[in-house]
Amino acid sequence: MSSRLWLPGAAVFLVAALLTGALIGPVHIGLGEALESLGAKLPLLHVHSPLSPVDESILWDIRVPRVVLGALVGAMLALAGASYQGVFRNPLADPYLLGVAAGAGLGATIAVAYLPHGTDYQKILPPAAFVGAAVAVVVAYAIGRTTGGSSAGATLVLAGVTVASFFTAIQTFIQQQHSDTFQEVYSWILGRLPSSGWSDVTLLLPYVCVAAAGILLHRRLLDVLSVGDEEAASLGVHVGRVRLVIVVCATVGTAGAVAVSGLIGFVGIIVPHAIRLVAGPSYRLLLPLSVMVGAGFLVLTDVIARTALSPAELPIGVVTAFFGAPFFAIVLRTSRRMFA
C-alpha cells in the first residue's frame, strides 16, 4: 500500500468505527435513521428525524457521547504512547511511563477513602485522579532532571518507575486501611467509559486538543530525536527543551484521559507499534495515524465491552488486552519490518 493511502485509509476506519459504535446497542437504530437524525440537527437541511424522542435520546445523549469519549481517549492514549516512545527512544514506553497511572490511582484512592460517604464519586474521581497524575509526573521529572546528563532520557524513565512504585505503595496502604474503598477504586482502575452524557466529553476535550496540537506540531522534531540526544543536539536541536514540551503535552492529555476513563492499558503500546510495523517509523505519518487508529480501536473495543455479556459490561481495559494482544501478535509475526 502506497504511503499516501494510509491517511485516507485510517480516516475510513475511524468513520466506520464511529458509525459502528453509534449504531450497535440493545435498541436497534438503523444507519439511514441515524443519518437522517443527524441531518435534522444540522441547520438549513430541513430534514425531520424519523426517530422517536426516546430513540433520539438514546442516540444523542447516551451512545454518541460515549463513542466520542472513547474516540478522544483512544486517540490521546495512542498519541501519548507514540510520543513517549519517541522522546525516550524506548519501544516499551507507554503513556503511564512517568507515573501517571500510579499518581492517578493514588489520587482516586485518597478521594474515595477520605471524602465523606455519600460524595458523588463520578464527580470527584476525575479531578482527584488528574491532580494525582500531575503530581506524580512533576515529582518524576524533578528527580530525573537533577540527576540528568547525556543519558537524561533513561534517567527520567527510572525516576518514573521509582515514583510509580512509591505512589503504588501508598495507595495499597490506604486501601488496606479503608477496605470499603476497594470496590470503587478497583472498577475505576480496570478502566471504563462512562455513559454520563456529554459532561465528560466537554471535560476532556480541551486537554486532548491542546495536547494533540502540541505533540503533532513536534512530529518533525521527533524524527530528528530518533538519531539520539547527542546527534540531535549536533543538528541544532535543544533536545531537553523539546522533550520537556512533548512530555508535558502527552502527560496533560493522558492525565485527562485517565481521569475520565480510568486506566485503559495497552492502547498506547500496540496502536503505535502496529502502525510502525506496517507504515514505517516516521513520526510525520505515525502521529496522525495513531490519532485516527487509536480512536477507532477504542470505540470498537468499547462496542465489544458493552455487547459481549450484555446487559453486563466488561471492563474495557480487559477487552483492549484480550483482543489487542493476539491482534498485535499477528501483526508482529507477519511483518518483516524491524523495530526502530
Binding site: 506540531l217 513536534h218 518533525r220 522534531l221 524524527d223 530528528v224 530518533s226 538519531v227 539520539g228 547527542e230 546527534e231 540531535a232 543536539a233 549536533s234 543538528l235 541544532g236 536541536v237 535543544h238 510502525r276 514505517g280 517509523p281 516516521s282 519490518r337 524491524m338 523495530f339 526502530a340
Partner: protein, 258 residues
Amino acid sequence: MSAEPAPALALDRASVALGGRTIVDGVSFAVGAGEWVTLIGPNGAGKTTLMRAIAGLVPHEGRIELHGEEHRRLGRRGLARRVAVVPQSPVLPAGMAVSDYVLLGRTPYVSYFGRESRRDVAAAAEAIARLDLDGLADRQLGTLSGGERQRAVLARAIAQEAPLLLLDEPTSALDAGRQQEALELIDALRLDAGLTVFGAMHDLTLAGQYASRLLLLSGGRIVAQGPPAEVLTEPLIAEHYGARVRVVEGGAVIPVRG
C-alpha cells in the same frame, strides 16, 4: 578588515572539565580553511571530548572560534550550520529510509514548527548523488552494509552544508578497503566543496596519509604538532602510546614485537 582570513577553527586555551576532572587542558591551535588536520593520541587522551566541545555538546573554558566567530555566540542552530559531525558510532534508526535520514541533515535550516523547503530537499538529493547513494535512497538504514551506512552518515553531514566537517574515528568500523574508500571520498569532498576537515583517528598510518598536519594529544594537552613526518616518530609514539613501533619510509607506522 584584516588581510588574512580567519582560520576555519581556532582554539585558544580551551579546556573541558567533566565531573570535576580536567579532560582537555588549555589546548590552543588553528585549522586553516580547506585544511585536513587530524587529532591523534592514546585512549583517554581527550580526543573525543575535544571534538564534542568543538561541536558544542559539552561546555568549555577558554575560546573556540569558527571563521572568527565566537563559539558561544552562535547558538545551537548557528553552530549546526557551521559544524557537521560524523560520530564514531552513529545511531541509525533501522526502519528509516536513507533519503529521510539524509534530510535530517537539513534540521538546522528548518524553523521549529516548520517543514523542509524545496531548497532543503534539493540539498539532500545533491548529497545523496554526491555519495553515490541514488540506488539506495529508498532502502531502510537497517538493510545497508557497513560501507553503505558510512556513506549515508557522510551524506547527512554533507547535506548540513557546514564549512567544517568534524570526524570522530570515522572509519573504525570498516575493513581496510572500505576505510580507504571512505577517506578518499572525504578528501574529494573536501577539495570539491572547499570543506575543512578536523578529525580524530586511531590508525596512525592512515592519519598520516590523509592529513596535512597532525596534532598529538596526550593527557589533555597537545604535546606535538606539525606535518605527519614530524609527529609520527618512534620516540614520540613510544612515549605517549607506550607502543614499540617502527616508522618506515612513506610514513607507515608498523607495530613490532620484542
